[in-house]
């Protein structure tokens, strides 16, 4: 029986970030992953490091995590591209809310500026006419998630972490975990299994929220910033069975990545033509030039969604020595590093940089 200070189940971006942080703290770590590293929701993700200001707890975690991401700005594997985020308002209500958003971001030290219509089109000429105003968060960036996940895991491996790749945890046992090859690992367990969390912790509610993405051929200069509609949170934080929200991103390769869509409780990962159509038609209303770009690939991902949209970060109630870092919805990449540090601090009994209460798993069981 191998003994560890922490056994991490799942090598998506969150599990890998945790492996890196925990091993850096000197702990003897094991990581168990049945599929390719970063092969789940991480592989489908846009890789956008973005602050969403609608929820204070989400914003705190996001801000903390984005700060930590800056350390990777020069790492080739990250493909870190500081394209900035441009939020666009299509109606008076959205335009009028910009100042409040800027203030909320400023309160946590994130710099954002309002753009009037003229400035908006100067910043992003391809936008459809008729938009009222915008908000530019110039320092935000995008990364390439699967390569980052692998990098973080390699760091952990270099510090001696035991990587059980191609293996699956069959069951949690008292004192550890049993793998599908019947080997047993001894030690506290951290579940970083994303949407698969209910398999090992069925008491924690988790829903899958399917999203579509399309990537185009190379069109360098077509798009200067990541662009989102200010109404994006209505989709992300809403509870509609299905919704779309405008989101485009220039990849460092010059390719354009287009999203977004959300559908609850659909586990079929095949691309749904009607959903794709809806997402694209919505996108065209913000950026008509997208119509002529060539799509090379379309794919889907399943975001892990908790009832209140905040991840579970902390001890799993009712289980001994089992912890969880899962349920990040569409912010898994953004908040991976902050989540990992929060977990390390909780495990070591240190005071975390941000208040951990909003993410406590026990909150859903009262």
């Amino acid at each position: 029986m191998a003994a560890f200070d922490l056994i991490i189940v799942g090598a998506g971006i969150v599990g890998c970030a945790c492996a890196d942080a925990v091993s850096a703290a000197g702990w003897r770590t094991a990581v168990i992953e049945p599929g390719p590293v970063g092969g789940g929701a991480t592989a489908a993700a846009m890789g956008h490091l973005v602050a969403m200001d609608d929820d204070a707890a989400e914003l705190a975690l996001t801000h903390d995590s984005i700060r930590r991401w800056q350390a990777f700005a020069a790492l080739p594997a990250a493909e870190f591209s500081r394209c900035g985020t441009l939020w666009v308002a299509r109606n008076e209500a959205e335009a009028n809310a910009i100042d409040t958003r800027i203030a909320r971001l400023a309160a946590v030290g994130i710099r954002a500026q309002v753009l009037d219509a003229k400035a908006l089109y100067q910043h992003e000429p391809a936008l459809a006419p008729g938009l009222l105003a915008g908000m530019l968060v110039a320092d935000e960036a995008v990364v390439y998630p699967p390569a980052m996940a692998r990098h973080l895991l390699q760091q952990a491996g270099a510090r001696g972490a035991a990587l059980h790749l191609g293996r699956r945890v069959q069951a949690l046992t008292s004192g550890g975990a049993m793998l599908d090859d019947h080997s047993h690992l001894d030690g506290p367990v951290l579940l970083a299994t994303g949407g698969a969390l209910p398999e090992l912790a069925p008491q924690l509610p988790m829903r899958l929220r399917k999203g579509h993405l399309v990537i185009t051929d190379r069109y360098p200069g077509a798009l200067r910033h990541q662009v989102l509609e200010l109404g994006y949170a209505d989709s992300a934080h809403g509870h509609a069975a299905s919704s779309v929200a405008f989101n485009v991103q220039p990849r460092p390769t010059g390719q354009v990545l287009i999203g977004s869509s959300r559908e609850f409780d659909v586990t079929d990962t095949a691309v749904s033509p009607p959903m794709l159509q809806r997402m694209l038609q919505h996108a065209f209303t913000f950026m008509p030039m997208l119509r002529q770009l060539h799509a090379i690939r379309a794919w889907t991902g399943l975001r892990p969604a908790t009832p209140d949209g905040l991840p579970y970060l902390g001890a799993v109630p009712g289980m001994d020595d089992v912890w969880v870092a899962a349920g990040h919805e569409g912010l898994g990449v953004t908040t991976a590093l902050g989540s990992a540090q929060l977990i390390v601090d909780l495990l070591r009994g240190h005071t975390p940089a941000i208040d951990p209460a909003p993410y406590a798993p026990a909150r859903v069981l009262t």
């Binding site: 390719p36 970063g38 699967p146 185009t216 051929d217 033509p273 159509q277 809806r278 770009l293 060539h294």
Partner: protein, 422 residues
Amino acid sequence: MTETRHIVIVGAGPAGLAAARAATSHGARVSVIDAQPAAGGQVWRHDVAHASKRAARVAIAALERVEWLAGHTVIAATGQTLLVESRDGAFDIGYDALILATGARELLLPFPGWTLPGVTGAGGLQALAKQGWPLAGKRVIVAGSGPLLLASAASLRAHGAQVLGVYEQASRHAVTTFAARLWRWPQRAVQALALRTRLASVPYRCASHVRAALGDDRLEAVEIVSPHGVTRIACNYLAIGYGLVPNTGLAELLGCALQVGPTHPAVQVDALGRTSVANVYAAGEIGGIGGLACARIEGTIAGHMAAGDSETAAACLPRRARARRFATALAHTFTLDPRLHALATPDTIVCRCEDVTLADLAAAGDGRGARLATRCGMGACQGRICGSALTELGHASPRGVRLPLFPARLDTLASTSTTTFP
């Protein structure tokens, strides 16, 4: 009044054209779709400098009785509807029966210098020549494997190229044994003899392969390995191909089962051209590389079957069996020398679209994880070139086909004629 059956045929090469002729003979409403601007596929590709073979002209005449959609590409398929894109727009086309005659592409293996301008497929340079590519007086080496090399060499010569030699990787023994058996297929024997005559002054070397293409910004010379050692030959073009791979993308998108066993996927079909999906038939190369005779007879069978005439289809079965036997013999002769799997060096590019080298892939491990990390296969060719090469070299096959089947305008993916949103 009874509804006329609408039969859609994807591919206007020999198989698709034969299917069109057979289907229209029953009065069915037929549409033929091909991404190329002209009919004929690859084997009967329109040649700007030479008149078409009579057989091709006759076959192409069948298009007069169909809705002929040249320059149209199938992008997606749902239910019994295909989403089709052309230069000017996109639309849905429904069908009662579908015949897949999407043909094959060349198997191109990575080796040092293969990305240089001037290095093309063997069939590739022939296709370019037929489009009018200037080859007069150009020094050309033809290499790789298979009977396609001879056909290509003859065609290139006819377009004015100076073909310096044909370098076949199979052994002399394999090739001469095969040639000795050609009497069983008289038509082929005649073809082969004709080719040899036209190429009488062109050296044909067996057990030879190209190990490198040399040049700075374009091809200047190649290095050839033969039983006599390594030779460097200055040339303008290297036309190199290692056989053919079925274009199974649309079949896979439709859910057609693939054959177990062959290195490269082929669609599972019975002798009457039925795939595992109801109302979907397949003919020609996509059911297994079989050449022109297989394509024509299987296209005919599929056309009759799609139109509901299984009796006439069944009468073609003996001819089909003979054609398929030849194809099998061919495949055995030209199996690839394992040394070809090791031609690529660590800095050889494997994925041309994303500039991923063999070393990049090796560093990332194998399988899906490696492709995710390097983005190998995620470029414009959607893994068609690198995917088949990696499969041949023994790496895990990339995952199944997704939509869009070919790069398509976002406008096309967004188009809908019938869907309403909640």
